[in-house]
Assembly symmetry: D2
């Protein structure tokens, strides 16, 4: 990957959490909470931030809101780590519009999914990433997330696009670590053109062992320091520390299984926001409409998991 | 359903084709072709037009393009039939932005899908339609299209929302006519609060027999007159004419199975555009990026189907 | 299709219900109930019986039980209508073993699905039907049931196998009436080599209008006479009677939506068995393990649907 | 888990390959090849053998063939390692028949999937495993293989059944290592009632790091010694050796991606059989009907992968 900015390392790798978007009770960006959340990440030593990803509720925001989130993130981070901007939308033309606006705001790279809503085949998927790369002129990560776009990006396609310089990396949120392992193998054979990041907070340990370059863990919003420690241990080949950190983070991840009667981000992102609200970092656990915030026993169960693990809660 | 406009019938029913969006070779709206296409529909006697649906390539257009398509449609139709506007986007907030802009342009009703990309449950789906209804203040059709949004709207939910006045109708593109038949039954039991339109051009005959109020046939762009004749025959209980028209339209529908190496709208909408281009109604068969237009043998095979059925082609 | 037996019509068409398998409280074949159920069908004038289908709980029975069910059916029917035997199993070799045993027992035709459990491609599916046809030497229906085997039989393949004489008909339980309509069209173009039966009790009316040759309705166990009347009306082109019968049967089909906490055949076949038990035709509503019989409020709700429609219940 | 036999360790763990079933050109069990294949495994030091699994083509075999395979395996292994028998079939009653016959033949434990073909819910799945356990009286592994049975066994259910003593272990072939990681966590919290084996040959390294007790690798038929070395290294905490072995095995696994025009076991098991045939251990690479053996360039490409990795080939 090319140098992503004057402040960025020559090669982005390591822990790049998908930044949550804190909201006010009426659903607008909560800037003071956003500042505290970003400080929480930077204090932990994360290697970059992925703004406007699935965990950032990107699919719920119209253009103005997306721009505000990016602009504030850029202002607050102030070049201390590179910022990857999610340019996630149904089809090419809409994605290119997001790319243009993000370039004006000033980001360090992009993350884009395959097209969705309208069914597309291999020819269209490839044309989609080529068009984004041409418009972006900055590092581009392909975001493999079948649970949202309902197709899987094949390892062969990804490595071929990498070898051609169309994409620079992959954020793998496919839940299919067999395929991720093959992606690592093929990438290595091709001279490692791609930076490979796993999006699965539960199996970062195995991903490092398999050869991943880093992680984009949603749970990293709650405990970025744990993921940074795991990353540094993996770099040092200290696998017993890797294992210990992952075991603890796996126990912490149980917060996402606590909400009853919720599915998708209303449960998962809802649990992350609720934990950060209980920890005093966010002022609310508000979710974007049509989702509603966790409350009552759903909050209590998350508090119980946190306190059992020794996390300080203030509410 | 309430009166949809001064020019609209008290109850929209019958043939409401999902209008294609003709494009210039560079992908912009081709206004002269759009005018000819709308005339083709109005001359055939269609009962309404659904602008910016899946067949209209809505998922490929950014806001400015959506607005231009709607504005031109409204101008060209000039109140002769009601216009339903597709307000199709990932989640509530984005859909509401489309509703606001369409209200300014001046349409007669709305069509909205369930939320997509981010997984949502029954609670969120219901909140989504309630929010749209509140903002719209005009007839609202729920668009059931699992192939795009990857969830099925249940008949019980739809009829309940209908009975409450949250939605006024359903466009069923689920491909699940067993479920459509049940929707008809439950709607009748509830006093028929919903107008039920099928989106499947191949089974409009059976849908009428089951009790559908009309159709939204993509193939109706190519042969609107055939669908209008079938509708009038069904209204008159003349089932042998219904059968004859549907048989002919089913043979015509074979055009969508001719393209080799294409999937989704690149094949289906591509075939409709190619047929209309061969018939001289559109000036190109251009598709939105990342799709490409049909060419070569894919065009030849469509021409063969058309001429075998006696359709006049000019190219 | 060839003459299926000395007692069979030259071409099987019309109403061929998938016969339920009545069980004793300990899960064995309940012969007296089976006799009453078959009499219920024959009295209604059905055109054939499909024994050991999905509704017959075939997947739950080991070979001995399958043989007993077939043998008793053959004995009770005594040649009055043709019997199609389901030879449903995971892969070719197992299906062929069922074919051999059924041939010894003496049936009039076979019904087989695509292979399942192990994933197979087009080459294997075709080889599978060819092998069955070669061993069977009797009319063979391809059973298209994606909900059980998780793949859809394409209309092109089916018509090609029909034209070659490998299969004689299709039982379509795909729930995809768009595809069924195309199957009808392609079959007609090929000279109608296939007898096309729909398995969807809710849309038999539309299937007849589209050109189906008959139906294999699970609900036909409860009300075979209704389906026979609809079939005769469709043959006579009396579509208002077709519509009236289907409307009534659609209301009756609501029994399958009454069971709470049940899915699949435990709900659907369970509802059919419960209705027949309430009507005094079956002595129990026992289901095969691991399913359990409907009881309590689930039975009450079915009784309510039946009595609202004027069906005589004795329990 | 209870002592599985006089020859078995108190707790089965480690490498338990799913034994392939060598076939003669006419599709019968090839006993001499079977003897060589089992010797290949035992020489490598495997900890057990899983006979009649998906890789063993169980779904393709009728009862007599299943019995023969089991009987020969028991005879050849002669108590040197425990034998787990796959009792894989559509529903409970059929599975129980396989259990009874396998008990007579004499095996050391069982492996069973969730019910398939007919849709079943949580109540039935649980009743299914309870019935098998009651009949088996030997260690029972739940086989989680959604790609074949089209449902996923939840970690909560599995751990609960383990805590009750209904099942003794899990063979996870779900491809969902996020869920596997959670299964490991919940099992540990419950006092580790379950032995957890991964079925994914590509991610055994990460599975060990996560806490797996062993592996059931299909590729282990080709290179059992590699998996045994990886297992012993993992036990010793020697993660750099684990990584080295997995990297080499991942390169070897590329054989399954070489066949063109094949899917499912025809590609995967076909590649394993072809490799062992090229290595001189099997006399043919015959597959069960309706599958056909790999040939021509598909064989050449597999030979190329093998020789590139230094594997001796004799054909």
């Amino acid at each position: 990957m090319a140098d992503v900015s004057t402040t960025a390392p020559a090669t982005l790798r390591g822990v790049v959490p998908p930044l949550l978007t804190p909201l006010t009770p009426t659903g607008e960006l909560d800037v003071p909470s956003f500042e505290r959340l970003i400080a929480h990440h930077l204090d932990a030593g994360v290697d970059g931030l992925f703004v406007l990803g699935s965990s950032g509720e990107v699919a719920f925001f119209e253009d103005e809101m997306r721009d505000q989130v990016l602009r504030e993130a850029v202002r607050i981070v102030a070049g201390r780590v590179p910022i990857l901007a999610g340019v996630i939308d149904t089809q090419t033309r809409r994605v290119l519009a997001h790319v243009r606006r993000a370039l004006e705001i000033g980001v360090d790279g992009f993350v884009a999914t395959a097209p969705f809503y309208a069914i597309t085949g291999p020819e269209e998927i490839e044309a989609h990433f080529r068009a984004i790369n041409e418009a972006a002129g900055l590092p581009l990560f392909a975001y493999d997330i079948p649970v949202c776009v309902h197709l899987k990006l094949g390892a062969d396609l990804l490595v071929r696009l990498g070898a051609e310089g169309i994409i620079d990396g992959v954020k793998d949120s496919s839940g299919d670590d067999v395929s991720f392992r093959r992606l690592v193998s093929l990438n290595k054979l091709a001279g490692s053109p791609l930076t490979l990041l796993t999006g699965h907070e539960m199996v970062v340990d195995g991903s490092y062992l398999a050869g991943a370059d880093g992680a984009v863990p949603g749970l990293g919003n709650v405990d970025p320091a744990g993921y940074v420690r795991m990353d540094r241990a993996a770099q040092a080949g200290d696998w017993s520390t890797v294992q210990k950190e992952q075991d603890r983070l796996a126990a912490l991840f149980e917060i996402v299984f606590q909400p009853v009667g919720k599915v998708g981000p209303a449960a998962g992102v809802g649990a992350f926001k609720t934990a950060l609200w209980l920890m005093g970092i966010l002022d609310t656990n508000t979710m974007s409409a049509p989702m509603t915030a966790l409350e009552g026993e759903n909050v209590d169960r998350i508090r119980t998991v946190l306190t059992a693990l020794g996390v300080d809660v203030v509410r």
